[in-house]
């Protein structure tokens, strides 16, 4: 008799540190600026709000399948994983360290609604610093990859950070976008996007749609081991950062807008892209899903 398959351990349900320990090689994680150093947000204290010892993100060194990496994991349960000054500085510092240390890569476990509104300008500034440091690390030859499978997804400024990575792995439950559904509903009205329609929200922002649009590279099960394997796989592919490539990406995006700009629902887009049974996509497991969309995918260079 063969051994039963290892039980799935949900990535989405795990906390930031547990995800990090499961994605990296066992026992390899060494945290930098850990909670005992108590580098907390000065802004939350000024607003009389409770702070977190690590400001909602764990960063440090580790190995992934034996290769040295730097890694960060955002805690979505603390203020929606939002980026405040300290939180952002830890990510920026990690990416700058990567450019200097030249590890095999940087793995970002993204789970964030974007900028922490309580810290306003400091948070916005932090996101721009993260972006600059990320691109500098890539320019220095260090691949930066992102994993999206937490409850908060990856939105706002962190959505931009995600799309600036060399590669992204997502679960269907992970979501990626710029303006989140509530923001669109609030600013454009419920006719534009009804956030009570959960299926629509996931069709629009979920990992599967991002795969069809070519914005995410790998679709994985909501499983810690699957995300670990995906992170290792992403580190082997590098997306060269050149002006020519950016121009190609711009062209591809313009083509996408021309082809699909009038689609009211992702299902319409999947049909227009040539998926045979588009309404079935949300129900498919990753493997049959990837087979069904193989020819419809529109990778952004």
């Amino acid at each position: 008799m063969s051994a039963p398959p290892a039980p799935r351990r949900s990535y989405r349900e795990a906390g930031a540190r547990r995800r990090l320990l499961a994605v990296l090689d066992p026992g390899s994680f060494r945290e930098l600026v850990g909670p005992a150093e108590r580098v907390q947000s000065p802004h939350l204290a000024a607003l009389d709000l409770p702070a977190a010892f690590d400001d909602g993100v764990a960063v440090g060194r580790g190995t992934l399948q034996g290769r040295p990496v730097l890694a960060a994991s955002q805690e979505g349960a603390f203020l929606g994983g939002a980026v405040g000054e300290v939180h952002g500085a830890k990510l920026t510092g990690l990416l700058r360290l990567a450019a200097r240390e030249q590890p095999a890569g940087v793995v970002l476990l993204l789970d964030s609604g974007g900028v922490r509104l309580q810290e306003a300008n400091a948070g916005l500034l932090a996101v721009s610093e993260i972006l600059r440091a990320l691109l500098a690390a890539r320019a220095a030859g260090v691949p930066v990859v992102g994993l999206i499978g937490g409850g908060w997804g990856c939105f706002g400024g962190m959505g931009i950070v995600g799309r600036c990575c060399d590669g992204l792995a997502m679960s269907e439950e992970g979501r990626l976008g710029l303006s989140g559904p509530e923001v669109i509903e609030t600013t454009c009205g419920v006719e534009e996007l009804d956030t009570r329609d959960r299926a629509l929200v996931w069709r629009l922002y979920g990992g599967k749609h991002r795969i069809v649009l070519g914005e995410a590279d790998l679709l994985v099960e909501d499983d810690l081991a699957a995300f670990r394997a995906a992170a290792a796989s992403l580190l082997t592919r590098r997306r060269v950062l050149t002006l020519e490539r950016l121009c190609q990406a711009q062209e591809a995006l313009e083509g996408r807008l021309a082809d699909f700009g009038s689609c009211a629902d992702p299902v319409d887009l999947w049909a227009a892209a040539g998926v045979v049974a588009p309404a079935e996509l949300p129900l498919l497991e990753p493997e049959p899903f990837l087979a069904a969309v193989a020819r419809a995918r529109r990778p952004v260079p």
Binding site: G15, R17, G34, P35, A36, R38, A45, D48, L49, P50, A51, A52, F53, D54, E75, A77, F78, L79
Partner: protein
């Protein structure tokens, strides 16, 4: 925010030294607990809480906790976002487990 601090004298052997451990998360009705080595013979608990005016209940929870767990020589720091006493008790217990787990 209210800051509270309690120090309980604890008998028994000092807990072994281990790297700091962090459990829980600062979210509504929840809290995070950081455990570190502290002063011998004492258990110290420092709390920052968003719920004001519950000092007596915190003290009762802390004393009960210190009587039930091997916490001599440990320092606990808490960031609380309005957790109930039951949740606090569970998190403190979890923190001890996590800290001592690293020494086994």
């Amino acid at each position: 925010m209210e800051r509270l601090s309690y120090e309980v004298e604890v008998e028994g052997p000092a807990a072994p030294r281990a790297p700091p451990a962090l459990v829980g998360v600062v979210a509504s009705g929840n809290l995070e607990v950081l455990v570190e080595p502290g002063d011998a013979g004492r258990c110290r608990v420092e709390i920052a809480t968003s719920a004001r005016g519950f000092g007596e209940i915190w003290e009762a929870v802390v004393r009960d906790f210190a009587a039930r767990h091997p916490v001599a020589g440990l320092r606990f720091s808490v960031n609380d976002a309005g957790a109930t006493p039951a949740v606090v008790t569970l998190r403190l217990g979890q923190a001890v487990e996590e800290y001592l787990g690293a020494t086994r």
